[in-house]
């Protein structure tokens, strides 16, 4: 099924499509942090308390998608290099946009980002002290939950972390600018009359994802350097001390 050239494109598109859907839901969920600690902590707790099979099922499914997507990308690119052993001495590009030509580069950096991001906020190996952040804010009666709100505020107060996140989200924006419309072509559900509309939708979606993810680190850094005051100052100044 997925061994032919077209089959590999299908695999690329299907896994890419899953990831497209995931990033939207993930972004929408994250944005609750703008509504204060109760919301985001309760949301994170709800996700963490999903039944084991659902929680781990989804995690493994997403990971498998990422691995298959990246693996297929490597296979495609290797085969393509072999198919054209010598470039033209005068190499010109007539139509292809930068984002389409740089899918491999943006994808590779995204892979590093995904690994870092998981170590940072999920496994919490980069800053192990995030593990100890417990709070009653947003928790059910008589319980303590992980203080995601403080962890994120603390995390993004490291300027280099925020810069890395925003750059990665910009690259994700580029990856999706081509990827979103490419899915329709690869799956064969695109026609000349829809081409422009899908291309615009892809660009719109890519920028929406960029803004939705980047707004949080940008607000945190803005407040760190006293440019804006968005978060409650008492929660912002010493997030790791908040209970």
């Amino acid at each position: 099924m997925f061994t032919s050239s077209i089959g590999k494109k299908y695999l690329m598109a299907l896994t890419g499509f899953v990831l497209i859907g995931f990033v939207f839901v993930h972004m929408a969920g994250n944005l609750q942090i703008l509504m204060g600690p109760e919301k985001i902590n309760a949301y994170a707790h709800a996700l963490q308390s999903l039944p084991m099979p659902i929680l781990w099922g989804s995690r493994i499914f997403l990971l498998v998608c990422v691995v298959l997507h990246a693996w297929t990308a490597i296979v495609l690119i290797r085969e393509n290099r072999a198919a054209r052993p010598r470039e033209n001495d005068v190499e010109v590009t007539k139509r292809a946009g930068l984002s389409s030509l740089k899918m491999g580069l943006t994808g590779t950096i995204l892979l590093f980002f995904i690994v870092f991001h998981l170590l940072h906020f999920t496994v919490r190996a980069v800053y192990p002290e995030y593990d100890d952040l417990m709070t009653t804010v947003g928790a059910p009666e008589g319980m303590e939950v992980h203080n995601v709100y403080s962890m994120v505020l603390a995390g993004f107060q490291h300027t280099w972390v925020s810069v890395f996140y925003v750059i990665s989200m910009f690259l994700l924006c580029g990856h999706l600018g081509h990827g979103f419309s490419s899915v329709f072509q690869s799956l064969g559900i695109r026609s000349e009359s829809w081409r422009n509309k899908i291309d615009w939708a892809a660009k719109g979606y890519a920028w929406l994802i960029f803004l939705g993810f980047s707004i949080v680190p940008i607000l945190v850094i803005g407040q760190k350097f006293d440019l804006i005051s968005f978060f409650e100052p008492s929660l912002f100044s010493e997030p790791l001390a908040m209970r």
Partner: protein, 250 residues
Amino acid sequence: MNLILKVWRQDGADDEGRFETHQINGVSEDSSFLEMMDQLNEQLLEEGNEPILFDHDCREGVCGTCSLTINGFAHGPENSTTTCQLHMRKFSDGETITVEPFRARAFPVVRDLVVDRSAFDRITQAGGFITVRTGSAPDGNALPVPKDDSDKAMDAAACIGCGACVASCKNASAMLFTAAKAGHLNLLPQGQAEKDKRVLSMVSAMDKSGFGNCRNYGECSAACPKDISLDYIAKLNRDHVKAKIKKIFA
């Protein structure tokens, strides 16, 4: 016009190849690119040198035999134009023009600018036909074809099989050619009976010939002298997955 030509020379498939630079004077603006190449070859013969080999046949833009990558563009920088139909007035006096063969592993160089495009023939042989008993011609109106379908099939059939799609593709993919040849028949009622088999065998012949994988850049369609649309690639993708799924449940 006076021009400097930087032309690819290669003695055979195993030769490394190299560029050769020639000055050519007094080229008419009204001559075609191939006529200019003829003039250069006459000059080379007079100087006692080997002429440069290049492919050509109809010189009317219909047969798909001419090729050449000119200043990086398959069939030159003009849109919707084959090399034989490209006029020298599109270049400027004194310009240096780089001429290379269509480069792809599946198109080995035979000599100089001549490449072996028989990989395309293998794709066509794999399914670019319909199986019918020949005999007296059937009544033209016996088989109704919706106008929209016949228009689309004709647009696909406009493919002259020149290989510019492969040469312009950064991945040397033959998807546009294969999509046009398969799509042309798959759109018509006559092509329905063998549709699934056609798609599977043509794609498999394409993969076996060592072409690259499509990455949806669209360079092929931009270079195509017949402006074949990327829609046919989308259709080939669609028809391919349908055929695969049917095969699994057959």
